[in-house]
């Protein structure tokens, strides 16, 4: 393997070591086929899965350990493994926004992100924004403005709205509409949500 020679010792890994490492375990699963058939250079120390791997996720300020296959989405890990069911699974294809979470403070679709990709990043779910006993200003405002009907999309809107208010304390109606562009409400309660978010902005500044 010419590529082996180029690599300084200890900088990763050689195909030979990879073959040794995967040895009996993976040989039976057909993984070796790819290694043998193609010129793929392996870095076994870095390649994980396809079985479960242990990862640590920082969720709402708390570290939580979980074992997942690399293919598991962050949404499924949150809901099915870690009992954070606030983020909802609706379209499961990055279109409706019901699964919206904050990742390092920015809104993201947790259905379209692998759980392994979220390791080392700050995840905030709707559970991290308020509790039934102590709602966030935006959650209060949603109730005040009757900004939900069936309520299933609401967690995603709350998170997307929070992302806006975190960066823009004085949003216009256009700003709010832009910030909610990645979320869908089939009941059509947008007309309640826009004032709810604008009023929450005022309340957060102590002006309400």
């Amino acid at each position: 393997m010419p590529t082996d020679e180029k690599k300084p010792p200890g900088s990763g890994f050689s195909r030979r070591n990879f073959l040794k490492t995967i040895g009996a375990g993976a040989a039976a699963t057909g993984l070796v086929r790819e290694v043998a058939d193609t010129a793929v250079v392996e870095a076994a120390s870095d390649v994980q899965g396809p079985g479960e791997i242990s990862i640590t996720l920082n969720i709402n300020g708390k570290s939580e350990k979980v074992s997942v296959e690399p293919r598991v989405t962050l949404l499924d890990a949150l809901r099915n493994r870690l009992d954070h069911t606030g983020s909802k699974k609706v379209c499961d294809r990055g279109t409706c926004g019901a699964c919206t979470i904050l990742i390092d403070g920015q809104p993201a679709y947790s259905c379209s992100m692998l759980a392994v990709e979220a390791e080392g990043r700050k995840i905030t779910t709707v559970e991290g924004l308020g509790t039934p006993e102590q709602l966030s200003a935006l959650q209060e405002s949603f109730i005040e403005h009757d900004a939900q009907q069936c309520g299933f999309c609401t967690p995603g809107f709350i998170v997307a709205g929070t992302a806006l208010l975190n960066t823009n304390p004085n949003p216009t109606a256009d700003d709010v509409n832009e910030a909610l562009g990645g979320n869908l409400c089939r009941c059509g309660t947008y007309s309640g949500m826009v004032p709810a978010i604008m009023e929450a902005a005022k309340a957060m500044k102590g002006g309400a």
């Binding site: 058939d37 293919r71 990055g94 920015q106």
Partner: protein, 325 residues
């Protein structure tokens, strides 16, 4: 979704070395917004996913002399928030804004936007890129995109493939003369025009872009040209959706360039429209450019309306470019 191996090395060449050149065997993950959905739907089933999230070298926007060098893993949100990009290239910021979803902008990347798979609903429902693989017992093998509902499909270059290129950024980047730096195995690097990333597949074995399985876009270089530029997207809604027709116009002292999006399997350059604009853009020349751009369209059974939209989009993009700084 099929189970796969996963790696997220910190070095681009290590990442490339982990990829297979065999089509579909491995997949590169940037933001993953398209890839994860595509894997769930079984449209792609790689044995290995190599994530670029730790490859810092392809992140961020640098001023390289007068040129701009954009790392392919730069998020669309970073691109939108960059003041120099906003000043020099409103055609780009308009296109990014049009993506319409903060959730996609915060995660999706420049390279991912360029290489996202087409949105053709027949492709997305498992009937293949050419929509000729329905698998149903009574299916006659002809393209569903020809025989079925093709209202959002191609009106140019639509003989062998009818899907439209999905990229929001490509028309603007091509109009601005941007290049893509493509990196392959053994540190092989080539710089090609963004336009040359795309191709119309002539058979179902071909993809809509020219990259091999183990090639990665590392950067996009935008040469300083001083061009006035603008983009206009015709959309059904302001929130998350892909445009129906996009036009991007760049007017430099050397001439104008007009590029359409979402009208052909590739971004569609209209030299005739560029000529019609020349160096002097006003309502008359902008309208003339729109007419020229629409010339030669071959609409399908349900999308003749897009020919009209091309005229409007080109005219409005040209006027937006003329109004730029």
């Amino acid at each position: 979704m099929k189970a796969f191996e996963y790696a997220a090395p910190g070095d681009l060449d290590d990442a490339i070395a982990m990829l297979s050149d065999a089509p579909g065997d491995s997949a590169v993950m940037a933001g993953g917004t398209d890839l994860v959905t595509s894997m769930k739907q079984g449209l792609v089933s790689p044995n290995r996913v190599v994530s670029l999230r730790n490859v810092k070298a392809i992140n961020g926007i640098q001023e390289a002399g007068p040129d701009l060098r954009i790392g392919a893993a730069t998020t669309l949100g970073e691109l939108l928030g960059h003041s120099l990009v906003a000043d020099l290239y409103p055609s780009i910021t308009t296109a990014v804004k049009g993506i319409g979803s903060p959730q996609l902008m915060s995660v999706g990347t420049v390279g991912g936007d360029l290489l996202q798979a087409p949105r053709c609903w027949y492709y997305r429902n498992g009937m293949g890129l050419l929509a000729d693989d329905a698998g149903a017992a009574n299916f006659d093998g002809d393209s569903m995109a020809v025989e079925g509902d093709n209202r959002y499909h191609a009106i140019f270059d639509n003989k062998t493939a009818q899907f439209v290129s999905a990229s929001s950024l490509a028309p603007a980047l091509i109009a601005l003369g941007a290049n893509a730096v493509v990196r392959g195995p053994k540190k092989a690097e080539r710089e090609i025009a963004v336009a040359d990333l795309f191709r119309t597949p002539s058979s179902s074995d071909e993809r809509e872009h020219v990259l091999k399985g183990n090639e990665v876009i590392s950067h996009i270089n935008i040469p300083a040209s001083g061009a006035k530029n603008g983009t206009y997207e015709v959309r059904t809604r302001q929130g998350l959706d892909w445009p129906i027709v996009t036009a991007s116009v760049a007017i430099a002292s050397s001439g104008a360039k007009v590029v359409l999006g979402h009208v052909a399997p590739t971004p569609w350059v209209s030299d005739a429209a560029g000529k019609a604009l020349g160096g002097k853009v006003d309502e008359t020349s902008a309208a003339k450019a729109g007419e020229e751009a629409a010339n030669g369209a071959t609409p399908l059974s349900h999308n003749e309306y897009k020919v009209t939209l091309v005229k409007v989009a080109v005219k409005r993009a040209a006027m937006a470019a003329a109004a730029h700084g």
